[in-house]
């Protein structure tokens, strides 16, 4: 009885984007030759890492009723600064720490602007996006930065290596590779999810997003928690910068440009509404994977990249319509849920 009940409540909690993802994924697997091969899926997952991290960051800010447009800029800036440091001979470990620190500081800066100076999050983070991107452009002189590999960048080589590689056949399509970067991304997302589900982070974010006054009356330190979420967002963005830098072994200063838009799309597709107060971390991850499934399928079909944006836009609209229909259905089911809850309570008491 207990198990069954949990299973049904789990089923209720599955974000609507799961179905969208499955539809897109199955369609791609059937319709696109070479898509459903371990080699292609390995590559796709690795490419999706940065966007996944940013989508999770975006989901957190959307859920608390804000937005963080600076994530893309922080990817560019973090990447450029880290690459610059290593080019100048700094040890990779320090460089990465500096990158993460800068990400967190941008989050702090965003948080302070929003909470203390009362600048709307959209404007504040739009501004810091510009600042971050300009810093990236200036330091790099708008050129790709790379470093000469040496003992001081051995950490980079290690992180860029594969954690696991299985050859299922002779050609590249049959080689399953799990990069360390994918492992790091999975761990980071896992930690955020754990914090969200198991600590007060989740309930505080929902409360902030649903109604700030409610949060305040409940004794939640509203400013502190907003700043914390912006800092987590900045950290995740910096980590995204690390991943993309290591994967391409160099940094273009525009590497993060427009990523905030894609992260928004992925998060919204994952059920994180702009008004805040609802949404989920796994939803954002699936949203990002959906976008990369489309991207990968279209590039395998040899379709021009500019069409990818068109299709992504359409998927977003269709996804939103489906989400709205689900919300409508849920409203209808509310009454049934309530009577079930009443029944559960009394049966629980009887036991």
């Amino acid at each position: 009885m207990e198990k069954k009940r949990n299973a049904s409540s789990m089923l209720n909690r599955i974000p609507g984007v799961t179905y969208i993802f499955l539809i897109v994924f199955v369609a791609a697997s059937i319709g696109v030759p070479k898509f459903f091969t371990v080699g292609n899926l390995s590559t796709m997952l690795l490419q999706a890492c940065t966007l996944t991290l940013l989508s999770v960051a975006m989901a957190l800010s959307l859920m608390m009723g804000s937005i963080d447009l600076s994530v893309g800029g922080v990817v560019s800036m973090g990447g450029v600064i880290m690459a610059y440091c290593m080019r100048e001979g700094m040890h990779a470990g320090f460089a990465l720490l500096i990158g993460l620190f800068i990400g967190a500081m941008f989050g702090l800066f965003n948080g302070l602007m929003v909470t203390k100076l009362r600048v709307p999050a959209f404007i504040a983070t739009f501004g810091s996006m510009g600042i971050a991107q300009s810093i990236a452009n200036t330091i790099s002189d708008e050129r790709t930065i790379s470093w000469t590999p040496g003992p001081h960048t051995r950490l980079i080589d290690f992180l860029g290596d594969k954690a696991l590689s299985i050859e299922l056949g002779a050609d590249a399509a049959q080689r399953l590779t799990i990069s360390n970067l994918l492992v790091i991304t999975a761990i980071a997302v896992g930690v955020v999810w754990l914090l969200f589900r198991k600590t007060t982070l989740g309930s505080n974010i929902y409360a902030l997003g649903a109604n700030e006054e409610t949060a305040r009356l409940s004794g939640i330190d509203v400013s502190k928690w907003r700043i914390i979420v912006f800092m987590i967002s900045g950290l995740l963005a910096a980590l995204g910068g690390i991943v993309v830098m290591i994967r391409s072994n160099s940094v273009q200063p525009t590497i993060g440009a427009n990523l905030e838009f894609q992260a928004c799309v992925a998060a919204v597709l994952g059920g994180n509404v702009m008004e805040g107060g609802k949404g989920s971390v796994p939803g954002a991850v699936l949203g990002a994977l959906t976008l990369y499934t489309i991207r990968s399928a279209m590039s395998l079909l040899g379709i021009d990249t500019s069409w990818v944006q068109v299709v992504i836009g359409m998927v977003l609209v269709i996804g939103m319509v489906l989400n709205n229909m689900a919300a409508h259905q849920e409203k209808k089911n509310s009454q049934a849920t309530l009577s079930r809850a009443r029944a559960q309570h009394s049966s629980g008491k009887g036991a």
Partner: protein, 495 residues
Amino acid sequence: MAENKLLEFRHISKSFPGVKALEDINVDLYKGEVHILVGENGAGKSTLMKVLSGAYEATTGELYVEGKKIEKNSPRISEELGISMIYQELNLVPELSIASNIYLGHELRKGPFVDTAAQEKRANEILSEIGVQIDSRTLVKHLSIGAQQMVEIAKALSRNAKVIVFDEPTSSLTDSEIEELFNIIRLLKKRSVGMFYISHRLEELFVIGDRVTVLRDGRQIKTDVISNMTMDSVIESIAGRKIENLFPHTRKQAGEPMLEICGLTGEKFSNVSMMVRAGEIVGVSGLVGAGRSEVARAAFGVDPYTAGEVRVCGQRLPGNSPARANRLGMCLLPEDRKVEGLALALSIRENIVISSLKAMNPSGIVGQKKEREVVQQSIRDLGIATSSMEKLAKFLSGGTQQKVVVAKWLLSQSKVFIFDEPTRGIDVGAKSSIYQLMDDLVGQGAAILMISSDLTEILGMSDRIYVMSGGSVVGEVDSADANQNDILQMAFSNV
């Protein structure tokens, strides 16, 4: 007796720039007492409670809690003292479970993690204590308003509240939910919780109250035990004048049928027929959930219907088109003014002209001067109390908001008015002016269909009454021959 005193306001005054909101208030509260605060909007009830919650600081005067003087109050301090507020607009997070809401900001922990299992267990226990049979893992978004209020009470109890303040708790509850709430309040009394209770529904005073304090214009008019008071004496103290006749309505010569609803059938109602003539106020009574608002919304074209037809001034409405219904002179004044009737962020002027912009400005260019003249005229005609027509709608009291909505529809040449709960959450003084306004409307040949859960209002204002139950019209009576019992009996007949 003194050791039973939970708290005391002594000579509390509060001034805002230019306004004296409270003047020398002396009110106390005992353990297990329900102390009712009544007064018109702006009389100072909420201000007094905000002094208690620490949201405001009193300008002069002292607050004692269990005999100890509170030097400096703040929301945190008052919460630690065991004072809990339950606001009219409930403060819950829809996406969280009942248990998480109860412990929001005060989570039970196991190391760095929230101890969800313990929270759910404790929450279930608290809910059981107050007789609420809902599993605490249920998300709050699935709960009715009434159940959400129970969660608020459980939240207060989880923090060992000694004093609970209810601000208009019953304004959006169904009758059975109100009964449930009163049972909980009785239970809390037995547990020595002291309660302040703010309400506009005066009949509740006599059901649940122990003592009553009447405030008017920031002054304490009287405080007395309930047995020394009558409904009339309370109304008189609130208004500061004798309201001779709360219901000014006189029967007019009924004219042509203006609104005809024939055999209307929809999701929540079937085969509903109603008719209103010019010069008539027709009441629609029934329990919450009888389908009254649904019929009104369908007739106006907001919601679809599957069978039947609606005629306005003899012309058939196409259905599904509120804009068309409005062009034929019909309008709906919804129950929830704040959500459906008004644009809160716009001014009085903008709200009044919003539906007539096209008619007033055929060229498409908005004529400021003419617009201001017209609005000034409406404000005068309807007696809208405001310092300026540019005041934003969100700053107006409930009664004034209602008048602005009426002004809007009058300007767009409406002749058929459907009022859904016209005086909910409106104080006595403003009520009587809304009633006067309705009487004036029918005097000028309009037709009014009035949905109301307030039986005295139905009997006092209607010429004829339809009673609905379980989605059907179960009776039609002339108000001259009707009494409360008959109507109630009909209302329960088809549940």
